[in-house]
Symmetry: none
Subunit: 427 residues, 2 copies
C-alpha cells in the first residue's frame, strides 16, 4: 500500500517552524511497510488544500494530514476532506462533552478566565461516518475516515484518510497510540531494514564497490546516504513476516561485510561513530585524552556528548598556539621550527606528549589548516594531520579535505574518531 503526507499550515511555508512531523511520520510509515511517495506542504488556503487533496486521493491509498484542526477560521482540514468525499460535518456529542469538561476544568483552575468561545465548538464537528480519535494532549481530536472513493460498491473501502493535529506534542502520541495499530492491521507485508555505516571510504568509491549489487536490485534494496566523511547504506527487505524479511537481508548484509570489512563501524541504526568508539574504550577499560589544534575542542565535544563518556575521557587540551603545544604536550621547538605546526612530526609529538602529560592509555591529536586563511601552496587549506598513540606506538595520517572552515573541522573530527577506532581494533 502506498501512503502520502499532507502538512497543512502557512507557518511551514513561511519557514517559521521546521516540519519535524513529516520526518516523524515518514519514518513510521517506512517501519510499517507503507511506500511513501510524496510529502506535500500547503498553507491554510481552502482552494489549494482542495486541489492537493483531490490529487492525493487519485494516487494514494492512505493519506495522512497534519494541522488545520484547530478552532480558528484558518483551520479547514476537516472541511476540505468532507468536501472531497462529499460528506457533511456533524456535531459529535462526545467531543462536545469533552471540550466542555476541559474548559470547566480550566475555568475552575483559572478562576473564570477560560470561557468557551464559539469557535471552540468547531472542534467538536466530525466528518460524517468518521472514527473520532481522542487527543490525550490537547482539545482537537483526530479522525480516521474510510472511504470507497470513486467505487460503485460503497463497501469497497479503498482510501483511508487520517487527520491529525499539528503540534508534535499532540500528533506523535496520537499517532503512536491510536493510528499505528489501525495502520498495522491494513498491511499484509512487513518491511525490515538494516543500516550499514561506513567510514574511511568516499561515497562514489563505496558505491562503485557494490555497483553490481545495486544494479537490478529488487528485494532487498540498497540505498546509499552520504554523511560528513561517512557513507551509510540502508538495506531493506519486504516479506510476509519479520522472519522471512530477515532471511532475505542476511546474505546481502554478509556480502557487504565481506566487501567493506573493517570500514563498517556499526550496523545499528541509532549508533554514532563516537558512541562506537566510547563503547570500545569502555569494553577495553581504557582511558582517552586528546590534543586539538585546528578542531579546537570539537573532537572532545563530540566524545563528551556520548552519555557515560566520563568513565573513559578525563581530560583534553586545546593547543592552538605553538607555545601551548610546547608547554602542555612537550612538542619540541626544533620540530615546530623545522617542520611547522601542521606536519606529520608535530602530530606525532602531540599524541605522544598528550600520553606523557595525562597518563591516558590512548591519545589522539589533530593539527591542520582549516582556513580560510593560513594556506600555502605547499600546505594548502584542508591539509590536516591526525595521530593516535596506543601501546607505545604512534600512528600519523595525512588528510586532505575540501570545504569551508566548518566542514574541514567536522571531517577532521570524524577522521580522528575513525583512526581511534581502527587503532583500538587493530592493536
Amino acid at each position: 500500500m502506498n501512503a502520502e503526507l499532507i502538512s497543512v499550515g502557512t507557518e511551514l511555508l513561511l519557514g517559521n517552524i521546521v516540519n519535524t512531523n513529516a520526518n516523524y511520520l515518514s519514518k513510521k510509515c517506512a517501519e510499517l511497510g507503507f511506500s511513501l511517495y510524496y510529502q506535500i506542504t500547503v498553507g491554510d488556503n481552502e482552494d489549494r488544500l482542495n486541489k492537493v487533496l483531490a490529487e492525493s486521493l487519485e494516487r494514494s491509498d492512505v493519506i495522512i494530514l497534519t494541522g488545520g484542526l484547530g478552532p480558528t477560521e484558518d483551520d479547514m482540514t476537516k472541511e476540505a476532506v468532507a468536501h472531497a468525499l462529499h460528506r457533511e460535518l456533524i456535531m459529535d456529542e462526545e467531543s462536545k462533552a469533552r471540550i466542555q469538561s476541559y474548559f470547566d476544568f480550566r475555568k475552575s483552575a483559572a478562576g473564570g478566565s477560560s470561557d468557551i468561545t464559539n469557535n471552540n465548538w468547531k472542534q467538536a464537528l466530525k466528518i460524517d461516518g468518521s472514527i473520532v480519535v481522542e487527543n490525550d494532549n490537547g482539545t482537537a481530536p483526530g479522525y480516521i475516515v474510510e472511504a470507497a472513493y470513486q467505487q460503485e460498491d460503497p463497501n469497497k473501502i479503498n482510501k483511508r484518510i487520517i487527520l491529525l493535529p499539528g503540534p508534535p506534542s499532540e500528533m506523535k502520541p496520537m499517532f503512536d497510540d491510536h493510528i499505528i495499530p489501525y495502520l498495522r492491521n491494513l498491511q499484509e507485508n512487513v518491511l525490515v531494514s538494516k543500516m550499514v555505516k561506513i567510514c574511511g571510504i568516499g561515497e562514489s568509491k563505496a558505491e562503485t564497490m557494490i555497483l553490481d549489487m545495486i544494479d537490478g536490485q529488487q528485494n532487498p534494496t540498497i540505498a546509499p546516504y552520504a554523511k560528513c566523511a561517512e557513507v551509510h547504506f540502508r538495506v531493506t527487505a519486504l516479506a510476509k513476516s519479520e522472519e522471512s524479511a530477515k532471511k532475505l537481508l542476511h546474505p546481502v548484509i554478509e556480502e557487504l561485510k565481506k566487501r567493506f570489512g573493517l570500514n563498517i563501524y556499526t550496523m545499528d541504526e541509532e549508533k554514532t561513530l563516537e558512541e562506537v568508539v566510547v563503547a570500545l574504550l569502555r569494553e577495553k577499560n581504557l582511558t582517552l585524552s586528546s590534543a586539538e589544534s585546528c578542531t579546537g575542542g570539537l573532537l572532545a565535544g563530540r566524545i563528551v556528548n556520548v552519555s557515560g563518556a566520563s568513565s573513559v575521557f578525563k581530560e583534553g587540551f586545546i593547543t592552538y598556539s605553538n607555545e601551548a603545544k610546547q608547554k602542555y604536550l612537550g612538542v619540541s621547538g626544533e620540530t615546530l621550527k623545522q617542520f611547522g605546526a601542521v606536519s606529520e612530526q608535530t602530530a606525532y609529538e602531540m599524541a605522544q606528549g598528550t600520553a606523557a602529560a595525562t597518563g591516558a592509555d590512548i591519545t589522539v591529536a589533530v593539527t591542520g589548516i582549516a582556513g580560510p586563511d593560513g594556506g600555502t601552496e605547499e600546505k594548502p587549506v584542508g591539509l590536516v594531520y591526525i595521530s593516535c598513540y596506543y601501546k607505545g606506538k604512534v600512528v600519523v595520517k595525512e588528510c586532505r579535505m575540501k570545504g569551508n572552515r566548518e566542514k574541514i573541522r567536522e571531517q577532521s573530527v570524524t577522521k580522528v574518531l575513525d583512526l581511534l577506532r581502527r587503532c583500538l581494533l587493530e592493536a
Copy 2:
C-alpha cells in the same frame, strides 16, 4: 511572484533526515518577498519527479529544487528538468575541469586511491542554456534555468528553475551567495530587513516586552525567531527603493535598541555571538583561555570556528575529571570535597586557575550536569555554573536549563559566550 520548493530524495521520504532545507529556503523566500504556496518532497524516482515538475511549472514562477545532483544513478534532477523543458544535457567543460582538479588534488594527497569513477563525470553535465553555479563546498554545481515555458515568444522568460545540491552545507552557501542576488533582481519592490539578535532574555519575555509593537504591525513587520538560548527579531520593510525601506526601518530599530539595550549583541544578520566576542577581544587586544567540564570542548570549538580566533585564543583545557581540575587548574581538593565539582566555588576556582596556568588576560570556565544521569534533587540535570575571570575579578553565574544532554550543553556554551561578552563590555 510565487515560488515553490521541490525536495528530491528518498531519504526524506524514509524519514532518515529532517528536511531543514525546506525550512531554510522558505524563510529566505519570505524574506525576498516571494509567495511560497507549496513544498513538495518526492523520491529519487523519474516518473514521479517528472509529474511533480510538470505540475509545478503550471502554477509557479520560480521553482527551487534541492537534491538529486550527485554522481549516482539515483540522482536525476537535472534529467527531469531537461525532460520537462525539452532540452539536452551537455558536457560543461569548466565543470569537468573543476572535477578533474578536485580529484587530482585528492589523488596527490592519497597516493592514487581517489580515482575518478565514471559516474563522477555525470556531475559535469549541464542543462543546455543553463547558468552553472559554482559549488564552493562540494563537487556538484548548481544551475539556474530560465525558460519561456509554453510561450510563443522564446524570449518571454516566465519560469525560473533553480537546481541546488541536497547537503545543507553545500546548498545554503550556494543559495546565499549566488541565488539570492539573482532572485532579488526579479522583484520590483525591495525588501530590506535587519536582524536584532538578543541574548540573556527568554523568548516569551522578549516578546512580551514588545507586544505593543508587534500588535497591528504592517510595514515594517517584526518576526521573532527562537534560537538556542537566544532570541532574534527580524524587522522587515517593503518599499520601492532600498533607501525608503531603510527609512521605514530606522525608528523601529531605534525603539528595539532602547528596550533591549545591552541584551542586543549584534544587528548584523551574518554575525554570530562567538564572532562578536572574538571581535571584542581583538579590539581590546586581549587573550582568552577556557576550562570546560560538562561542555567538554564545545565552547572552545565554537570560538575556534571563528576565522582569526588564533590571535586571541591560544589554549584551553577540558577537565572532565576532578583530578584534571586539580592538576591543571589548581582547584583545591577541599573545594571539590566540600561543594562538589558542580558548584559556584569550583567554577570560581576553575576560571581563576585557568588564568594562573595560561597567563591569559581573560578566562572562562563551565561546570555542570548535562545529564541524562548524574542529577540529584539538590543538583538536578541542567544545573550549570559558568564563570569569567577578568582584571583580577571572577564573576560566577548559576544557570538552570531544560532539555536533553545536547541542548543543555549548547545552551551552556551560549551563556558562557554571553557572560564573556558582558564582562568585556562592562569592565
